[in-house]
């Protein structure tokens, strides 16, 4: 395997990922702004984006922290948002499982929605490619996305400080969540899951420590899975 074809797979991945830059930038910017408005110092805003690298869960943690939820509830809710990534990990293992432990750790750190979706689609379409070529493609896909996630969080945090406090930012976060969820409502099972989540979360809103939401999420997940099983 010549290194030039490996390199070409890296650049192929990089080009494929470029359109996603348009999605990543505003979200990172928004996280920086909202986290700063919520009162986090720059170091902690950046800590979130660099150590967690998972937008939806960062926003979820921020929302629960604004409600002063107990630390364990913040963690449980934010991690629940990320559980889907176990599925990504399982799906990518047949393709990249042959890498060294250190490389697999690196791949895991960069395994977010966009990199998973693009790499998995490419690997499934051309399974004959070598491990080196697949790894190069994965590295190419993450190259424009991860650094921009960090950079635009930073810009957002700096800009957030300049935004006057009387501009109502409280509802930007709910809008961001809805914008992430609505395109994911692909099937009856997804819609039923969302509806169950809403109804039970509202019905259990009185339950302390935001535990009503966790109960709602577990039941909603079971509803979605059950509908999928029956329709299969």
């Amino acid at each position: 395997m010549s290194s030039s074809t490996v390199k070409s797979h890296y650049f192929r991945g990089l080009l494929m990922a470029l359109p996603f830059v348009i999605v990543v930038m505003p979200f990172a910017l928004l996280f920086g702004v909202v986290a700063t408005e919520a009162g986090l110092p720059l170091s902690q805003v950046m800590g979130f984006s660099v150590l967690v690298v998972a937008g939806a869960s960062q926003f979820a943690a921020l929302q629960f922290m604004s409600d002063n939820a107990p630390v364990l509830v913040v963690l449980a809710s934010a991690l629940a948002v990320n559980l889907r990534m176990a599925m990504y990990s399982a799906a990518i293992t047949p393709h990249l499982g042959g890498l060294s432990l250190r490389s697999r750790m690196l791949v895991s750190y960069f395994l977010f929605d966009q990199s998973y979706a693009m790499a998995h689609a490419d690997f499934e379409a051309t399974p004959h490619r070598s491990l080196a070529e697949k790894t190069a493609y994965f590295a190419g896909v993450t190259t424009p996305i991860a650094p921009l996630w960090f950079a635009f969080t930073y810009i957002g945090a700096i800009v957030g400080d300049l935004i006057p406090a009387d501009i109502p930012l409280d509802f930007i976060l709910p809008i961001a969540f809805l914008a992430m969820v609505a395109p994911a409502l692909r099937t009856i099972a997804h819609i039923a899951t969302a509806a169950t989540s809403i109804i039970i979360a509202l019905a259990l809103f009185w339950v302390p420590l935001n535990l009503g939401l966790l109960i709602a999420a577990v039941i909603a997940m079971m509803v979605g899975a059950e509908i999928e099983r029956r329709m299969a």
């Binding site: 002063n68 930007i172 809008i175 914008a179």
Partner: protein, 109 residues
């Protein structure tokens, strides 16, 4: 927000480690063994199961209005969901929602 600095760093680090371990799970530890179908089926619905329930009270009873239902927020939420559902565009949905939020707020004074 009412946490000590140490608590916030604790949240950030624990969330970082937890998220890493979720991503590392199969790639690192379980390898090529197949997940049972029922587990995969449940995992597919995790974001759709938690985010709508998280947002619903914020849409209906926003803190900023003292828990009163607010037409601007309702209209913005409905627009975001409609645009996101119909066009599948995340950023498009967000921008439409923000435009409606500020538009209706401006019109109602």
């Amino acid at each position: 927000m009412n946490y000590t600095d140490a608590q916030i760093w604790g949240i950030i680090i624990a969330l970082g480690i937890g998220t890493f371990l979720i991503r590392f799970s199969f790639l690192g530890l379980i390898g090529d063994r197949k997940l049972p179908d029922w587990v995969l089926r449940h995992l597919r619905y995790t974001p759709v199961a938690i985010l709508p329930g998280l947002v619903a009270p914020l849409v209906l009873w926003p803190d900023a209005t003292g828990g009163e239902v607010d037409p601007a927020r309702l209209a913005a939420a409905a627009t975001t969901v409609a645009v996101g559902y119909l066009t599948k565009g995340v950023v498009r949905a967000m921008l439409s929602g923000v435009a409606v939020l500020y538009g209706v707020q401006y019109l109602l004074g």
